[in-house]
């Protein structure tokens, strides 16, 4: 029996500070939900698995020309973070000076809450 983690459930958990992944019951592949078939082995046997939120920056950028409605926030950094469990997430960087950012820097998940919206974000690892 596959347990699908919906986007709604993922972001409700994320809002409370917890990241949820899914693990393939056949091959052990870990993925970010939502997903039906395992991209690695094509099985449909996911189980939810908690992700502890620690990872390192795989790549980052500083956005200086933002989309509409984000002028006051710019400049801000966005990074792809490789989590210790092996999966990655894109997120906003919080509370790290822009000129201190480096590929390989350790960071830790925390939610960025904007009204009804929950955004994946990462702050200092400590």
């Amino acid at each position: 029996m596959s347990k699908v983690v919906t986007l709604k459930a993922f972001f409700e958990e994320a809002r409370s500070g917890r990241l949820t992944g899914i693990r393939c019951g056949r091959c052990g592949e870990i993925a970010i939900p939502p997903k039906e078939f395992c991209p690695a082995c094509q099985e449909r046997a996911w189980e939810p698995v908690p992700l502890d939120g620690h990872g390192t920056i795989a790549s980052f950028t500083v956005i200086r020309v933002p989309p509409r409605g984000r002028a006051e926030e710019a400049p801000y950094a966005v990074a792809v973070v490789k989590l210790d469990e092996g999966v990655s997430l894109l997120g906003r960087i919080l509370d790290i000076p822009l000129d201190a950012l480096k590929v390989g820097m350790p960071v830790r998940f925390r939610p960025l809450i904007r009204d009804e919206q929950t955004v994946v974000a990462f702050g200092p690892s400590q």
Binding site: I32, F60, T61, R64, V65, P66, P67, V78, A79, L90
Partner: protein, 384 residues
């Protein structure tokens, strides 16, 4: 499968226009039909590409609108959208329709109009080509996606901002030779390096502009092509995808969909990278050209920056890339781009490119990338 050829091309001037997408497409399409020497009545289908018309013009159902403005309102139409690869995807489907024997004459193309919109609105609409739940809320932009790729390529291979700047200088030099280009002015390395930061490490001159424009192609069966002036044959047209999610990209320094589409196009076309004489590829950002020249098999991984720096991809170099000026200087009306790239290769293979002609070009490659590198199309064309 039947052989397929392009017998007519049309491209509007790229830049700012006070006309709707349908008007821009119709001008290019009328030029393409006249270039092909066929009657508008001969068109059996229209495959039309547009990306942000729904947001920018509050216009959907744009296929029949484009056909109506062109003056062939009873032709069956379909609208395509695969972000920036839109009209190359339309082209591939037209090729398949003719190869399969369903039609003999198909009109393909696209248009985009964004310069009438505020820049932050256009930036927002283009960002819709990234995932709406995980990615757009982080404030990532289109330049931001390619900045992530640039940073990964720099960290892995030592690619430099100067090498990226060389791509911009080269494509502006080419664009200065193209009367349809948005920018027909050369720029210096220093201008690129000193331009304002957009999404570190990308600067303004690393980025293609927002552009209005239209492009169209008349794609036909061998039987029709044999009666035409200078048919250009399609050796293959392949598509590949990669995960839509940036968090699922296996290696940010590569575009895996480019590698897969190229392998399929080479295999289907019975050619390899060493057989290609001229290339139009998707340089939405300077780093995108560097990564594409590697993924298409022209240069080893990590050496695309060196190739740009040494001038190997210039007109007169060992493999001229983007003689039209590319997206960088010719401009990037996203829904029209793929068709405009095919039009340039057809023009090159007909030896009608004037001062930007690549001498002796017989085989050309077209590469178009959609959005966050999730969609790529590669087609091979030949004058023989």
């Amino acid at each position: 499968m039947r052989r397929v050829a392009v017998i007519g091309v049309g491209v509007t001037k790229f830049g700012k226009h006070e006309r709707t997408c349908a008007e821009l497409f119709a001008e290019a399409a009328a030029d393409a039909i006249q270039d092909a020497g066929v009657s508008p009545r001969a068109i059996q289908a229209l495959y039309y590409g547009n990306v942000v018309g729904g947001e920018g013009e509050r216009q959907l159902h744009m296929g029949p609108l484009a056909a109506s403005v062109l003056g062939i309102p009873t032709v069956p139409t379909t609208r395509f959208e695969t972000a920036c690869a839109t009209s190359h995807a339309a082209f591939r489907h037209a090729v398949m329709e003719i190869a399969a024997g369903v039609s003999d004459v198909v009109l393909v193309g696209g248009a985009e109009r964004v310069l009438n919109l505020p820049t932050d609105a256009a930036t927002e609409y283009f960002a819709y080509a990234s995932d709406a739940i995980f990615e757009q809320p982080t404030g990532i932009t289109f330049p931001g996606v390619f900045a992530l790729i640039a940073r990964a390529h720099m960290a892995k291979y030592g690619t430099t901002e100067e090498q990226m700047a060389h791509v911009a200088v080269k494509n502006h030099r080419h664009g200065a030779l193209n009367p349809k280009a948005q920018f027909q002015k050369e720029i210096t390395l220093e201008q690129v390096m000193k331009s304002a930061k957009v999404a570190d490490p990308l600067k303004l001159y690393d980025c293609c502009p927002f552009t209005d424009g239209g492009a169209a192609l008349v794609v036909v069966s061998e039987e029709v092509a044999r009666k035409s002036r200078k048919p250009v044959w399609i050796l293959s047209s392949a598509a590949a995808s990669d995960s839509m999610f940036l968090h699922e990209k296996k290696d940010l320094s590569r575009v895996l969909a480019t590698e897969r589409a190229a392998q399929a196009a080479y295999r289907q076309g019975g050619r390899g990278p060493q057989d290609v004489d001229v290339v139009e590829l998707h340089d939405c950002f300077t780093i995108a050209e560097i990564v594409a020249t590697e993924g298409l098999g022209f240069f080893e991984p990590g050496t695309g920056g060196i190739a740009a720096e040494k001038g190997w991809t210039s007109l007169g170099g060992k493999l001229p890339v983007n003689p039209s000026g590319g997206l960088k200087a010719k401009g990037h009306p996203i829904g029209a781009t793929g068709a405009a790239q095919v039009a340039e290769i057809v023009t090159q293979l007909r030896r009608e490119a004037g001062p930007r002609q690549v001498d002796g070009a017989k085989v050309g490659l077209v590469h178009t990338l959609g959005g966050n590198t999730a969609t790529v199309l590669v087609s091979l064309l030949s004058s023989e």
